[in-house]
């Protein structure tokens, strides 16, 4: 028996004892040693969901007043004192009526006249409010509320929507009464083809996947005219940054410049000054790689050139010739390569610019 084998065997024994010591009583299945039983306490710690039939709801109570106190301290900064705020999130409360509470249908949804939909206009199930506040609120410290605080907050919201009176105390015993008054409790439909499980006819949801919208794969002369119903609004084009920078710089297309800078240039095209044009020529043609305006790099600085040719009447002609043909020795051993590809006019402009002090503007 090799040393390695002995070592792994003893390791396996230790593991086996550890497992036994843990008191595992379940029958190990196909995937032996994978996973372990969950304890009651563990399930209790995580299983906090509440179903529409209130399965999972833990006993407790909270009054509208108690809820208001917690609301002001922990919720109002984002949602407004009355759940009406539209500043950070869409409103929670608003848009429902006493009639809606009677019918269980929010009428403004039917009429389509609501400017936006508050949470209470949409939600059909009070369990959803409890479950969500309990698991996820407040946004920055979720799961910090006590069970009774959640009861109180739900009571407060229900009171704001006039579903329960101001002296109401919400409990696990009477929450079904609140459910019976939810303004949009009849506002949900599951008669659609977009549930991927068993249909309602087999105890599931929906119609079994039958689509509601139909098109055909017509191939030619499918219509007589093309009706453009909507175009991109101008503000929307520029509201998403510069599209030129959101596309690849190679390929069959480029992104459109929506920075607004292009338009500004077109409105007031500033012509380059003679100096600026010459400086651009020097930059574009690589002159500045070897020559500084006021310092030597590989070749002499333009200030040195000016000093050397000062007072010479034929300086310009000499320099034009040198730029064109190149040279070596005047400024040291490193040669200046011939720049014959430059246009004569451009060389003259460059030389004039250098002799006049190589100003940027």
């Amino acid at each position: 028996m090799s040393r390695f084998f002995k070592a792994s065997l003893s390791g396996a024994l230790v593991l086996a004892f550890a497992t036994l010591a843990g008191g595992t009583a379940w029958a190990d299945g196909k995937y032996s040693g994978v996973g372990r039983p969950a304890t009651r306490a563990e399930i209790h710690a995580w299983d906090i969901d509440v179903r529409p039939d209130f399965k999972g709801l833990r006993p407790g109570s909270g009054s509208v007043d108690q809820g208001q106190e917690v609301w002001e301290a922990k919720c109002a900064s984002c949602h407004g004192s009355f759940g009406e705020s539209n500043e950070v999130h869409t409103p929670l409360i608003g848009g429902t009526t006493k009639d809606d509470i009677k019918t269980g249908h929010v009428l403004s949804l039917v009429k389509g006249d609501a400017p936006q939909r508050s949470a209470i206009m949409k939600v059909a199930t009070v369990s959803t409010l409890f479950d969500y506040i309990n698991r996820a609120m407040p946004l920055t410290s979720p799961k910090s509320l006590s069970n009774d605080e959640v009861y109180g907050l739900v009571a407060y919201l229900l009171n704001l929507a006039e579903i329960v009176p101001a002296d109401f105390v919400l409990t696990d015993k009477n929450i079904a009464e609140a459910q019976a008054r939810m303004p949009n409790r009849n506002g949900m439909s599951t008669d659609h083809g977009m549930w991927p499980g068993a249909p309602a006819s087999k105890g599931g949801i929906g119609n079994g996947g039958k689509p509601d919208v139909k098109n055909t794969a017509c191939m030619s002369n499918c219509k007589t005219e093309v009706k453009v119903a909507s175009l991109l609004p101008v503000y929307a084009e520029t509201a998403h940054g510069n599209l030129a920078e959101q596309n690849r710089a190679v390929g069959p297309v480029r992104g459109k410049d929506t920075s607004g800078k292009a338009a500004a240039v077109a409105a007031a095209p500033a012509p380059l000054s003679e100096n600026a044009a010459a400086a651009k020529l020097a930059n574009d043609n690589g002159c500045m790689a070897c020559h500084g305006v006021a310092n030597k790099i590989v070749g002499p600085g333009y200030n040195e050139v000016v000093a050397k040719y000062k007072g010479q009447a034929d300086a310009e002609a000499k320099l034009v010739a040198k730029v064109k043909a190149g040279g070596q020795g005047v400024w040291g051993a490193v040669p200046m390569p011939p720049q014959g590809h430059l246009k004569d006019g451009d060389i003259r402009s460059l030389v004039k610019w250098i002799l006049s002090g190589a100003k940027a503007q």
Partner: protein, 448 residues
Amino acid sequence: MADQPTQRGRVRPAPENFLTETDIIAVKEGRRDFLRNALLTASATLAGGATARAADGDPNILTLPAWTTSLGQPVAARPYGLPSQYEKGLQRRESPGLTRMPQVSVSFAPLQGLFGIITPSGLHFERHHQGWVDIDPSKHRLMVHGTEDGFVRQPKVYTVDDILRLPPVSRMHFIECGANTGMEWGNVAVPTVQYSHGMLSCSEFTGVPLRLILEDCGIDWKKAKYVLAEGADGSSMTRTIPIELVQSDEVLVAYGQNGEMLRPENGYPLRLVVPGVQGVSWVKWLRRIEVGDKPWATKDEAIHYIDLMPDGQHRQYTSVQECKSVITTPSGGQILLDKGFYNISGLAWSGRGKIKRVDVSTDGGINWRPARIEGPVNSKCLTRFNIDWVWDGKPAILQSRAMDETGYVQPGYGQLRAVRGSKSIYHNNAIQSWKVTEGGEVSNVQVL
């Protein structure tokens, strides 16, 4: 434009070197001579340039660049590689004004620049309900239990070590947010395909079928009708999943994404993969599976992710992403460089199975041609299509229309709105139209 050289391999400087801002304005204004002027300017520049004369050829060929004449970078200079510095434009981005808190928001994948069907993990779209978290995998647990005793014989806890010991599968699937294209229900609202369709990504996911894990816990398939999936982040987001999908073996407890572990923004270390179903059901940072017999009407199936119909009713538990497609090149906010040949390219997908066919129209839907399928065709996976198009410089409207293996054909806006109105927010799978102007500018329009 007739005097332009049009043969392949013509010597012409790359456009970014000669399109001046004035030219770009010309493009915007739809002037068709902009390219000719630009070319003349470019020729003039070249004639006076230091690098080479145009007549001799392309200076990028005639003058050897630095990368050809120097020593490159060492290995592992970047231990985790990054895209080229020239690809910085392709990033996931927020749509300004869509949300007011960046933790409760969306970033969109840059579909306008992607190839094939796989979304690079760093460009995968994001949707977080309460911010993203980077979980220590040694402290993460997956709990499986039942609503009632007996729904599973043995509730269990799995570590990430445990999950990675089980036999996995690897499958490519798309994930699309139910609200993708939601801003466009009523009218055109956003300029590019990144914002109109970018809540869409596709990856190879590696994970363990949830069925296998539930069987390891001794699930009673007769009692089980639904499972609840719950995340470990602050939102502890929950969604109801039909047991039939679990039984089909399609639902995965995934840890792998494109060959590496999931990115934190995508649910590291565990997420649910629910092929064909909207992204909200693909619960990230998955910590708990509860086996039950009734749906839960959680916040994201009772207040959000419900579809408002014209009669004022909301459709609840709408989950399947129906067949849809979009042209990504050329697409909104782009400019065609020239007349001539283009390869129109786009993506098609269906939550009900495989893509069977994609048709493309360049005349706003009067006539259609079947597109080529570019790559693999997988069930509930993005499918890349392309088709030849010779742009004659005239206005055009580009559209794609996908058909899936059930025979369902992607609808037009008119057909979709006739049934569902324009306030649904969710599940907009209408045919997308891109208008091309004479100047080559592409913009978002809606055609009935």
